[in-house]
Amino acid sequence: MSRFKEFTGRLRGMVRRSPGEPAPGARPFNWDAPLEGSDEPRDPAAGLTVETVPLRPAPSRPPAAPRARPEELRSSPEARPPQEPRSPHWRAKADADFRSIYAEAGITTPAHGYGVEKVSAMLANAHLASRPRDVRATAALAALEAAQVPLRDVIDDAVLRHKALAAFEAAKALELQATWTRSRSRIEALQEQVRVFLAARNGEIDALNRAVQAARQQLAQLQARKQREEDRLLRVVTHFAAPRPIPAPPPPPMPRGAIVAPALPADPALKPAPAEAVRPAAALPPAGPGPGGPPKPGSS
C-alpha cells in the first residue's frame, strides 16, 4: 500500500498545475481506501474510486462521439454531444503528421488539460513503465480523479481523434479513388488518342504503299504492252528489211618481207660472184646431208 501511495504521490506531482493556472472547483479527493467491510467509499463525492470506476460503460451509453471545437464549446457549453469532424476536404496531405490532422479537425486538448495524449504520457511515464497494467491504470485514474477530470472526457478525446483519423483516411481514400479514376480516364483518353492517331497515320502509310504498288503494277503492265507493240512494229519491218551485215573486218596486214637491196647500176667491173660464193653464211643451208640423199652411215 505504501508503494501505491508513493506512485500516486508522484502522479499528483505530475499533474500539479502551474502557479498561474486556476485550480479546479473544490472537490475533495479521497486517497484513502474504503472502510473495511464496506463497499461504499468514504467520501461519496469522490465517487469514482479505483474500484468503483465503471470500467465497462453501460450498454445504453451511446458511443463517444467527436467533440466540438473548444470555441464552440465555449459559446454553447451545453452542446455536449461532440460533432463529427468538420470538412471532408482536408488540407493536410496523406503523409501529414497526425497532430496537424487533429488540429485541422479542430481537436484540441480539453480545457482541463487531460486528453488521451496526456493520459498516454502518464501511462508511459518512466515511473510507471515497469508496473503492471492495472497498477498503471489505477494510478492514472487516481490522477484524473485528483484533477477532477471525468474519465469520459479522456475517452471522448480518444474517440474524437479516432474519428478524425477515420474521416481523414476516408477522405484520402476518396481522393485516391478520384485520382485513380481520373488517371484511368485520362489514360484511356490518351490511349484512344493514340489509337485514332495510329489508325489515321497507318492508314495513310498503307494508302501510300498501295499507290506505289499500283503504279508499279501499271508500269509492269505498260512495259508488257509496249513489248508487244514493239514486237508488232518489228514484225512489220522485218518483212522488208534485215540488219545490214556487219562488214568483214579488214584483213590483217601482210608481214613485210626481207628488204631487198636496190639493183645497182651495171658495172662491168663489178662482176657478181657466183651465187654460192656471195651467199651469207646465215643463208647457207644447214650443214648436214643435203637434199641429194640420206646421210651416209657413219659419216658423223
Binding site: R56, A94, V154, R161, E204, I205, L219, K226, E230, V236
Partner: protein, 223 residues
C-alpha cells in the same frame, strides 16, 4: 535499247528490191538504208499526260507528235496490209513482195515505213521512261511522307507515353502514400485503443483498429 533500235542501229538492207521496172525509181534503187536515216529527235517532253494504263498507244504517238505520213502509208497501214485476208495464206516473202508492190505503186518508199516504225518505237521508249520516272518520283515522295509520318508517330507516342507514365507514377505514388497513411493510422489507433483499454475492457472499447481501416480501402481500377 529496244529491238527496233537495235535492228536499225547499223542500218538496214532491204530484202525485196527486184522492182526496178514500173516502180519508183529512187525507191527501187535503194537497197540499203544507213543508220543515220533512223536517228530520231529526242522526245518533246520528259513527262506524259497519257496514263500508264492506256490501252491504245495512239494517244502516246499523238502526244509524241507522230503523225501519219502525207501519203498515208505508215507502219500501221503496212501491218494491216500484211495481215489482210487476201495475203494471210501466202508465204512471208510473197506477202512482203505484194505489199512492197503496193507501196511502190503509191510511190511510197520502204524507208518511210521503217522510219515511221522507228519513230513510234522511240515514242514508246520515251513514254515508258516518263512513266518509270513518275513511278520513281511517286516512290520517293511516298518514302519521304512515310518517313515524316513515322517521325510524327514516334514523337506523338513519346509524348503520350510520357504522360501516361506520369499518370501511372502519380497514381502509384498516391497509392503508396495512402498505404503508408493506413499503416500509420493503424499504429495510432492501436495506441489510442491501448490507452483507452486501460480503462475500458474488450468490446466496450470505442476505439476500433483494423475493421474500419479495411472498410476504407479504395478499389484500384483495372489497368
Amino acid at each position: 535499247m529496244s529491238k527496233i533500235k537495235e535492228f536499225v542501229s547499223k542500218g538496214v538492207r532491204l530484202i525485196v528490191t527486184d522492182t526496178e521496172e514500173g516502180g519508183h525509181p529512187e525507191a527501187a534503187r535503194e537497197k540499203e538504208i544507213p543508220p543515220e536515216a533512223f536517228e530520231t529527235p529526242p522526245p518533246r517532253a520528259a513527262r506524259s499526260g497519257v496514263p500508264a494504263t492506256v490501252e491504245d498507244f495512239a494517244a502516246v504517238y499523238q502526244e509524241a507528235g507522230i503523225e501519219l505520213p502525207p501519203h498515208g502509208y505508215g507502219v500501221d497501214k503496212v501491218g494491216e496490209m500484211l495481215e489482210s485476208k487476201r495475203l494471210a495464206p501466202l508465204g512471208r516473202e510473197v506477202k512482203a513482195t505484194a505489199v512492197l508492190a503496193a507501196l511502190e505503186a503509191a510511190q511510197v518508199g520502204v524507208r518511210d515505213v521503217i522510219q515511221d516504225a522507228v519513230r513510234r518505237d522511240g515514242a514508246l521508249d520515251a513514254f515508258e521512261s516518263a512513266k518509270e520516272r513518275e513511278v520513281q518520283e511517286l516512290r520517293e515522295r511516298s518514302e519521304g511522307r512515310v518517313k515524316t509520318i513515322k517521325e510524327e508517330i514516334e514523337r506523338f507516342l513519346r509524348e503520350k507515353n510520357a504522360e501516361i507514365e506520369g499518370l501511372k507514377q502519380a497514381a502509384e505514388t498516391a497509392g503508396q502514400a495512402f498505404a503508408q497513411l493506413q499503416a500509420r493510422k493503424h499504429r495510432e489507433e492501436e495506441r489510442l485503443y491501448d490507452v483507452v483499454a486501460h480503462f475500458v475492457e474488450g468490446t466496450d472499447n470505442p476505439i476500433t483498429t483494423a475493421a474500419s481501416s479495411r472498410a476504407t480501402v479504395p478499389v484500384k481500377p483495372r489497368e
